[in-house]
Symmetry: C2
Subunit: 242 residues, 2 copies
């Protein structure tokens, strides 16, 4: 809580007043997903609050008055991981009254997808760790709830939009791609049908290169053709089903 020329009491009164007028703390929290060892991981930090010692929390910060929501999320991402130009999308806002023990803080949750390889090169911080998403039991604040929401969002989103490639190297094998989908969706997929599906979309480009250092026949490496995806005429939707 801030203190300026005015006395603490005054501040408190004003703060109360401001809160009544709609002034509350606003933060962003980033759910940063990575894919490593065929598992979906999420980047967490040890909570800095006493209330939540030994608990892990998402990477977040209060929003500055001169930055947009997206801007704040990018900033957090860059400050904490050194990464830029990563996939980032707003998912949902959370505003339970006592979700933060120190004050009323409303948070806007973002989902981010990063290539774990890139990350490793940039920054080292031993308070930051990748966690297997499926092993996380409890977290600080309402962060488990936020994580769950973002994970569900991702599961749905990845089937309708080409996000997944942000989690892979530029050049990847179809096996890697399938492992990614299987890890995120938590299902096993038929290899032949999976390949057929992606080839029929005609958005994968054959690089002519092959996997290296694998103890078996190497697979072809592909890259995703974003230009082609952009130009592709969006299918007119109609698929009522629930």
């Amino acid at each position: 809580m801030p203190a300026t020329a005015a006395s603490q009491k005054n501040i408190k009164t004003i703060l109360k007043q401001l809160e009544n007028e709609g002034y509350n703390g606003i933060s962003v929290d980033c759910v940063i997903f990575g894919f490593d060892e065929d598992e979906l991981k999420v980047l967490l930090i040890k909570s800095d609050l006493k209330n939540f010692e030994d608990r892990w929390s998402l990477l977040g910060d209060l929003i500055d008055s001169n930055e947009t929501l997206d801007g704040a999320a990018y900033r957090v991402l860059k400050e904490r991981t050194g990464l830029e130009d990563v996939y980032l999308e707003q998912v949902k806002s959370f505003g339970e009254i006592s979700r933060h023990p120190a004050a009323r803080v409303i948070t806007v949750a973002y989902c981010s997808l990063v290539n774990v390889q890139h990350y490793q090169l940039k920054k080292l911080d031993n308070e930051l760790h990748w966690h297997n998403v499926r092993h996380i039991k409890e977290m600080a604040f309402d962060h488990k709830q936020i994580l769950d929401a973002c994970y569900l969002w991702l599961q749905k989103r990845i089937q309708e939009h080409p996000l997944g490639f942000s989690l892979l190297p530029k050049k990847f094998s179809l096996r890697e791609l399938q492992n990614l989908y299987e890890a995120i969706l938590g299902v096993r997929l038929d290899r032949r049908n999976f390949r057929k599906k992606f080839f029929s979309m005609a958005l994968l480009e054959d690089t002519g290169e092959y996997e290296a250092d694998v103890p078996h026949r190497p697979g072809k490496l592909y890259k995703f053709n974003y230009e082609k995806y952009q130009q592709k005429e969006r299918k007119k939707w109609f698929g009522i089903d629930f």
Copy 2:
């Protein structure tokens, strides 16, 4: 802007400080959809700001420090329309820095679906009007952008979840239902296939009643069976396509 015991200057300083610390104005804005005369409508109010004279705006308000986001949206909805127990869901937050001329205000957009008939009975306010969604050109603040986002959200959502019934009377004909989908999606649908689809979902219950006051053969009236929908086992998803 509020004023208490402290001088205006102090307030301003403190406010600035607070903003730097993440204290901003937060509001909710409700995009209230209705369905009438086979058209999708949205409920708007004349803007109360001089900057936006003659412009229409969404129904919204600052969030009180002791209410949740959902709570604030429900409150706005009730205060402005007298309606309770309506469909309401959070869609997205908007935080461009100068989106509000008076101050930095971040807003959480909600989508609400109401039965226009119910509404008419409750409240009369001639600053409030239903507008055909497709005729709205410009609005106050960034509200057109918010409306567009909510409309797109609705188009997608209505195909995957049974929201649409909130826009209809409890008992409705299949023609009404189809008109609703056609109006929202902006497409024409095959009548036989539409019926087949809904019957195959087995969630419509025949009431045994028929339309009245129609200048032609009356259609059967159905109601949506929410219990059955809840119990229905969610289909395992897998439909990669983009």
